[in-house]
């Protein structure tokens, strides 16, 4: 049996970076990915089957058949859900994970995002807590991601909200007509604005081409490979080092332990073969980077005599505090067309309301939106009082597709221990492995914050020249999806957390979690840059640990 220094389960934002750091440090790495590498053509441009609008399927895995989850709705009813359904809370399953098809907003969390409980106090019933590390601990790692992978933005514009030592390596995306309208509105309101930082090459970088401004960022792949994911940066570097073996189509069954309960490796299946064979790989260290839902599932499924409730779960913490982001949103019509058809489309944001809002816990960033394909616009963006059919509907699409300003943004979820991932022993995937069961919601206080941010979105649109504005109140729900986080939170106290500040699972010296699962809270920002920064921080620690 081959022995590796490290086995990493999952090749997304977290796992890809860990693989690169360890392999370049000379460690022998096995990187397991349940999906496959997907070409631009394979991801395609199907407007009805993509990671953003997935009515009949999606384009970056997992397969619709054989990969169910269980969803318990707020009334307690159990549903078996398929990967493209909303209640599945999917993130892409392919090489690069979510970064293959994401929109690539590359926000740092702000300093106060790491100390939510101290700043606001934890509401009753919530699990709001401080991170065991602060912004200053992560700042060098943020900078490293921005420069090694390549982020486009304007650091000076954000300086008052999110301090930094070094600007971004790439200039921000070019403003469009919608940017100018929103900039003027924010100026009149006295709000701070900035370009939206993106993991997109606005100029050639890392031997990859620049963005050509197509209309397909979020939910799709990039025609010039200008959008930066782990699949076109750190994973190729890991492979180039000669120290990383990548196995795709590999389903992790469980983390193996020895007779004393010590982690010794990973058992996995190659699912593309006709008769999948169970393979056990051994390593000094195991790193779980499968995303907040699947990472929790793997730990919970790795039970043994020594760990009857799963690995790291002695205090019933694995899988709790599942969070993502509620997305308050508003739309308005301006007099003249503001659509120039140049992607990404998201261009301007305000971080005015991420914190220090009277009587509100946290807040969030607001920005305009990625270009929406017309059918996505039809489903998502029409005024609620517009008839859904007939000439008025068609004429609205015709007259206003180019005139609607979109403002939306992620609000800081207030986590609840009841929003959680468990496993359902009675429902298995096609390989017989018990599947993730999702239940609960985020804490109700989240709605207060979300509605406050919705009102700010409406205010911004009105100030930006929109006479007609529409928006609906967000509802309390489980959030997760592409921003899923929190299920193996970091902390000092094993009673209320799963890992230490390095992602090392409490009471284990060689088992780590490195992905959004670690986030104690998920910021009022898209989380990928924080996942990547934490991955660099943990990976350097793990590299030393292996020595």
């Amino acid at each position: 049996m081959t022995e590796f220094d490290a086995i990493i389960v999952g090749s997304g934002a977290g796992g890809g970076i860990v693989a690169c750091v360890l392999a370049e440090a000379g460690k022998r790495v096995l990187l397991l990915e349940r999906g496959q590498p997907l070409s631009f053509a394979e991801v395609g441009r199907d407007h009805l089957r993509n990671q953003r609008l997935a009515i009949y399927g999606h384009n970056a895995g997992p397969d619709l058949e054989g990969n169910p989850r269980v969803f318990i709705d707020p009334l307690g009813t159990k549903h078996i859900v398929k990967p493209h359904e909303l209640d599945y809370h999917n993130n892409a399953a392919c090489l690069g994970g979510g970064t293959r098809v994401y929109g690539a907003q590359a926000w740092r969390f702000s300093p106060d995002d790491f100390r939510m409980a101290t700043k606001y106090g934890a509401p009753a019933g919530s699990s709001l807590a401080d991170w065991p590390i602060g912004y200053e601990d992560l700042e060098p790692c943020y900078e490293r991601v921005e420069w090694e992978l390549g982020v486009a933005g304007d650091g000076a514009a954000l300086e008052t909200q999110i301090p930094r030592k070094r600007n971004y390596p790439l200039p921000p995306v070019l403003p469009g007509p919608q940017t100018a309208a929103l900039r003027k509105g924010a100026h009149d309101l006295g709000w701070v604005v900035s370009p939206v930082p993106l993991l997109i090459n606005t100029a050639p970088y890392n031997n990859r081409a620049a963005c050509i401004g197509c209309k397909y960022c979020v939910g799709f792949a990039c025609p010039t490979d200008a959008k930066t994911g782990t699949q076109n940066t750190v994973i190729p570097r890991a492979l180039l080092s000669g120290n990383c073996e990548l196995v795709v189509d590999a389903i992790a069954e469980k983390i193996e332990t020895d007779s004393r309960g010590k982690v010794v490796g990973v058992r996995y299946l190659r699912h593309s073969s006709t008769a999948p064979e169970s393979i056990e790989a051994r390593s000094k260290v195991v790193i779980v980077s499968a995303g907040a839902i699947e990472s929790a599932r793997i730990l919970l499924n790795s039970n043994s005599t020594h760990h009857p409730s799963g690995l790291g779960n002695e205090h019933d913490q694995v899988g709790r505090n599942l969070q993502g982001h509620l997305y308050p949103r508003a739309y308005g019509i301006v007099a003249n067309p503001i659509f120039n058809g140049v992607g990404p489309g998201v261009s301007i944001a305000t971080t005015q309301f991420n914190h220090d809002n009277d009587g509100i816990i946290g807040g969030g960033m607001l920005a305009d939106d990625f270009i929406k394909p017309p059918i996505d616009f039809w489903y998502d963006s029409l005024p609620p009082d517009l008839p859904r059919w007939g000439l008025r509907n068609k004429q609205f699409m015709r007259e206003n597709y180019t005139r609607v300003l979109h403002v939306r943004g992620p609000v800081q979820d207030i986590p609840s221990p009841e929003g959680r991932v468990t496993v359902d022993q009675s429902v298995t995937d096609r390989w017989g492995i018990p599947v993730a069961k999702l239940s609960g919601t985020t804490h109700e206080e989240t709605i207060t914050t979300a509605d406050f941010m919705r009102e700010r979105a409406v205010e911004w649109l009105r100030a930006s020249g929109c006479e007609t504005v529409w928006s609906t109140r967000p509802e309390l729900m489980l959030s997760g999806r592409q921003h899923q986080a929190g299920t193996c939170r970091m902390g000092h106290d094993p009673d209320s957390s799963v890992t230490d500040q390095w992602g090392r699972v409490h009471n284990h010296d060689n088992l780590f979690v490195v992905d959004g699962s670690l986030h104690v809270t998920n910021g009022g920002f898209n989380p990928v840059l924080t996942i990547m920064a934490l991955a660099y921080r943990s990976a350097e620690h793990i590299a030393k640990h292996i020595n």
Partner: protein, 137 residues
């Protein structure tokens, strides 16, 4: 699908997305889109959908004594409005509201999504909305 069902479908789709100086749903190929979907993703809803078309026709006969496809547009719209709200004049074997929502959403999918899927012939809705008119392809 019977000839009568097809006539009802064409007339109903053209109420959902009517022609003006841009094509209506039928001319834009939404019928083709649906035919493909009922062989694939929506195979399990085909019988349900056909029952809905029969329901539309039955409403037309009951209220106006004519085939739905032969009615004046305002009478067609009146029938569809009643189906949308569930205020039907005849006895339905299926939920009129759920059928109507399915009909409207699938019509929009055919009209506004990729031409390769059978509807939106010549990407006409992308021209109409401006989606393909501006910016790089």
């Amino acid at each position: 699908m019977t000839d009568l069902q097809r006539q009802t479908l064409q007339a109903a789709l053209d109420c959902v997305i009517p022609p003006d100086d841009f094509p209506g749903a039928w001319e834009a190929g939404v019928g083709n889109y649906l035919a493909r979907q009922f062989e694939s993703d929506l195979a399990s809803r085909r019988t349900f959908y056909l029952a809905g078309l029969d329901g539309i026709e039955a409403e037309a006969i009951a209220r106006f004594g004519k085939h739905f496809s032969k009615l004046e547009p305002e009478n067609q719209s009146s029938i569809l409005q009643n189906i949308e709200s569930g205020a039907v004049a005849t006895s339905w074997a299926i939920s009129p509201e759920i059928f109507f929502k399915l009909m409207v959403e699938t019509a929009a999918e055919g009209y506004y999504s990729n031409p390769e899927q059978g509807g939106n012939l010549g990407a006409i809705s992308w021209t109409m909305t401006g989606f393909s008119k501006y910016g790089p392809v």
